[in-house]
């Protein structure tokens, strides 16, 4: 399992990368592994407001659907629409296949660094 150090992580297994003006959000390697084959991603639209700790979309595997929880409050400025046709990118490259980019960030959840997140995942089993 891969836990890159330049990302921060939520307890619901999203990652956040601070890219200066925007916050980039995706799901972790642990999340994609637990989900299994991702077959559909329900994305928000550019301009939507997302709220820290609340759902902004969902990912579906063959077996189940899981909410995507936003680590930040802000406005969606970019959506990775390539995931509509290639949701499997979330399995193949979880840290490259970002889901949304958020600007005007006003609030942020308590996030874990890579070391703490790895410990958290290992505890979850």
């Amino acid at each position: 399992m891969n836990y890159p150090v330049d990302y921060k992580y939520t307890r619901s297994h999203e990652w956040l990368r601070d890219d200066g003006d925007v916050a980039i959000v995706g799901i972790s390697d642990y999340a994609q592994d637990a989900l299994g084959d991702v077959v559909f991603v329900n994305l928000p639209a550019v301009g939507d407001t997302v709220i820290a700790g609340e759902s902004f979309g969902d990912v579906e595997s063959v077996k189940a659907v899981s909410d995507l929880i936003s680590p930040v409050t802000g406005v969606v400025c970019q959506v990775n629409t390539a995931l509509e046709d290639a949701p499997e990118s979330l399995n193949e490259d979880p840290y490259g296949a970002w889901i949304i980019q958020v600007e005007d960030v006003t609030d942020c959840e308590d996030l874990m660094n890579a070391e703490d997140y790895q410990a958290f995942c290992e505890q979850e089993g």
Binding site: D37, V39, D58, K63, V65, E88
Partner: protein
């Protein structure tokens, strides 16, 4: 919670890195590291093997065995001859399903009935109500034998190569046979739960299960878990107890005749006499209020069991099973290419006035998405491949 049971193939699942889940009280592989999508596609193109040793195997013996089976099963067991199997239901008195089952006649002197793992104890309790009237006994032999489903275009070639046999079974679905692999007897049936035009299930002594499993893998078969088993059966249009049989999302009993397979599973042959649920089934035969129909989502999204189905804003039923399923894209001649696609398909339990070709809406977590009822999701009549049938 009691401890989970394990099949004799458990060490092979561990060695292969399977994700294991509780399935009807058994610790079973839901998928292997390649994942459900790859397993589904490999089965349709090459050969998938499935551990189905958890399914309940019941030996039915005694002078009244036929009379007993005629009483508690929906099929005409008298029509079964040695070397054949038949699909049947275990009806309730009211014409619903206690379970669905497969009845095998390998030998003239007994029958083997295979039932769903999670229902085995319930089925035995149900049978116990009728057994006292018959000189017949039922033995649960689930643990003595293992069972592996060998499914897909290469299944027959692999079993022939391993056994050196010229034929594995007769040519027809539900034909039975016996082959020998390295001196060990292996019982075979031309049956399966994938809809693959070529597919077998093999029965072997539990202690030899891992050995045979590994031989099959050496010949190119790949382990396939319960996840792909579900997507394959859904694409093939085969019902699953607890979804298309048993109890509907509103808590009512699903009549057996709501499922199209009922016409193969239920017999009113005179020699069958009266049987459990007969009166209710005779009424159902003339039509049920709702029926189970394959459904495809035309909008982007994923169907799931329990979702409401509507037509023109009116509720007409529910999705009973649904997910996203991969398929091999076909060329103009109908041959599979190297390209794959995916689609969301399932079954719906809807008002019987609706049928294939009808547009419906599905409430996908608050959003109404467009869907269509269809005749089938896959063609099974052109061996060796099961071919996806897509909406035009």
């Amino acid at each position: 919670m009691s401890e989970l049971k394990r099949t004799s193939l458990y060490p092979a699942h561990l060695a292969a890195g399977a994700s294991l889940v509780d399935f009807g009280g058994w610790e079973m592989p839901v998928q292997y590291p390649t994942g459900i999508v790859a397993e589904h596609l490999y089965d349709r193109r090459k050969c998938g093997i499935f551990d189905v040793s958890h399914m309940g195997r019941l030996l039915v013996e005694g002078p009244d065995r036929l009379a007993f089976l005629q009483k508690v099963l929906s099929g005409n067991a008298a029509a079964l001859v040695p070397g054949r199997a038949q699909y049947c239901m275990i009806p309730t008195e009211t014409g619903g399903a206690v379970d669905d089952a497969y009845l095998y006649m390998y030998e003239p002197e007994n029958y083997m009935l295979i039932v769903n793992a999670a229902n085995t104890e319930k089925d035995l309790a149900h049978f116990a109500r009728y057994l006292p009237d018959y000189d017949c006994r039922i033995t649960n032999i689930t643990d003595s034998y293992s069972s592996i489903a060998v499914q897909g275009p290469e299944a027959e070639a692999i079993l022939k190569e391993l056994s050196g046999a010229e034929t594995i079974t007769g040519p027809k679905k539900n034909d039975l046979g016996q082959i020998t692999i390295q001196g060990k007897p292996v019982r075979v049936s031309k049956t399966g739960y994938t809809g693959d035009p070529i597919g077998y299930e093999v029965f072997i002594d539990a202690k030899d299960a891992v050995w045979l499993w590994n031989l099959l893998i050496d010949r190119g078969a790949r382990p396939t878990g319960l996840g792909a088993r579900d997507t394959l059966r859904l694409e093939a249009g085969l019902p699953l107890y607890g979804h298309e049989l048993g109890t509907a999302p509103d808590g009512t009993e699903i009549p057996i005749f709501a499922v199209s397979l009922a016409r193969f599973a239920v017999s009113f042959a005179p020699e069958k006499g009266d049987f459990v649920g007969r009166a209710a089934l005779e009424t159902q035969r003339t039509g049920t209020e709702k029926k189970i129909v394959p459904i495809t989502l035309t909008d982007r999204g994923v169907l799931r069991g329990g979702m409401e189905v509507l037509q023109n804003g009116q509720a007409v039923g529910w999705v009973t099973s649904g997910t996203m399923v991969p398929y091999w894209v076909l060329d103009e001649q109908g041959q599979p290419t190297e390209a794959t696609g995916r689609r969301s398909i399932g079954f719906a339990y809807v008002d019987s006035r609706l049928g294939p070709g009808d547009a419906v809406q599905v409430n996908v977590r608050g959003k109404l998405l467009r869907g269509e009822l269809v005749k089938r999701h896959m063609r099974q009549d052109l061996p060796p491949y099961g071919r996806a049938e897509l909406l035009k």
